[in-house]
């Protein structure tokens, strides 16, 4: 997946959709929807974390490795933005 042409939030949304397989099952979800309530498990969260870090080529700080960070597309996007070397710089 390339990230250079997409805003972070949209890329995060695509990764979340792929990891949780939501659209394929007819789910619609917005930036503030609780992913844990949509069926995310600790295992899918693990895959999501690895995919997020691989895609954006970042390492989330240890304090971000918790349930709350992965609750919504919005919270994940915020964590990605905070972990990128210079905010707004495309990878």
């Amino acid at each position: 997946m390339t990230v250079s042409q997409e805003p972070v939030a949209e890329t995060v949304r695509l990764i979340v959709d792929k990891q949780l397989n939501l659209s394929a099952h007819g789910y619609e979800f917005g930036a503030d929807d609780d992913l844990w309530a949509l069926g995310m498990t600790s295992l899918t969260c693990m895959g999501l974390m690895l995919a997020i870090e691989d895609t954006f080529r970042i390492e989330l700080p240890e304090e971000a490795l918790k349930e709350g960070t992965f609750r919504t597309v919005g919270t994940i996007t915020a964590a990605v933005e905070a972990a990128r070397p210079t905010s707004g710089t495309k990878v």
Binding site: S42, L43, M46, G47, L65, K66
Partner: protein
Amino acid sequence: MRKEGVSKTERPTQADVVIVGNGALGLFLADELVERRIGSVVVVGPSDREAGASQAAGAMLGCFGETTTESLRTDASRTRFELGVAAHDRWPDVLDRLEGYSRTGSPLMVTPETHVVLNSIGADLDTVNFSAMIEALDEYGKPWEEIDPREIPGFRPRLDTRALRAVHLPAEGAVDARGVLAALDARLRATGAIMVDQTVRTLVRNDGEITGVELDDGHVIEAGTVVVAVGARSEALVRTALDDLDMVPSFPGLGFAMLARRTGGEPFRSVVRTPNRGFACGLHVVPGPGDLEYYGATNRLVDHVSSVTWMADVRFLAQYSMQQLDERVASHEVTRWLAGNRPVTLDGFPLIGWLPLAGLYLLTGTYRDGFHCAPLLAEHVANELQGKPGTIDPMFKPTRRPIETRTIEWSINEYVEHNLAGWFETGAEAAPQMTTAQIADYYRVMATKFYDTMGIDYALGPDILWYAQGSLLGARRVARYFHRLAGGNGSQPAGTATGEARR
């Protein structure tokens, strides 16, 4: 005979050898080096040994009581197992040497024997490990006899968790871990080693060699040789000097145990334990010292070294001790809560050897039998520090690739078995119509998904798998380590030559 040496309370600025860590591995090594008169030896470690594995250990001198189906299945695990067998023979001399320095008022060897009981509260894992133990005893020609569990002194479990079989091991006992550490400490002070009651903050290097250690208050001790033997904290300390080293990762295995005073009923006179089971070392009681009894132990891999335990672990140990060992435990008086962090490596094998920085040696990763193996490993490491041939297989060098002992399929099956053991022991209940096969399926799907998600083809042990699937930090460490290995050299984890599965 005890020598009255000069009290060494000063903080030196130089030493020939600095040992970081005052647990069993560090102290036994220091004792060996002092015996060999290799020069000045300084041991650095806080006297309370908080969160260390040794101070919380049950210190069973057991290798056959610890046997599992995995112990002898591969050449690598057999080599590891035989370390324990060889270590066992060292203990009579060790205790002769230390007894004169002990001030506990009780013998350091609290019992010379063990009873291993097979009850039905676990799952099939108990049964197969019990059989594996008997096969191993026979293979190595060690004494054992099957006895009626009701004949074991002190053993009075609840009737619904009574043992159906029991084996008496007359040659596997236990020592008083805290007494042995105190005696070693006293002996080292008397024989000229310098004990520094502090922690090491960083290793100090100059280009390609180690030059010393820096303590937590900035004081530096220069040394040409530094041995890191600080248990579950070892990897982090090594990384203060070798940040980018591709070392087999290690994790703290947090264990909880209790020392309690018996208030009634017949006391235990031997170690009484279950086989190893459900990610852990089996439930056990170790008698002594004096009128105390040691109950252990839980095992849970965690992100960071900690001495804080879960309430669930306290419940686990207290409830199952009452159910499976002796109902009278309920009114025992707990005199000490013990929490310690075992150094657990990714592949389950120790990390012993020189690191790629001249003068820096690593001695850790011994998981649950570091105490038992410490006298044997001390001889080996002392040899290596003196430039002599080592006495154990070099396969444990820290810079190895992870040793393989299983396939992914095997790993998944083991994970399922361990979870089932935990499921039944904890009394978890499924819907009445749900079968054991369905519960097993649930865990099988979890483990399969885990491997799919991680994208690794190295097969993990059940404890590491359990940890990594429940910890984002753990999963990331494991995944990144293997991705780095694959990217670095494009080859698979090595060790198949020694770890090839036999079945």
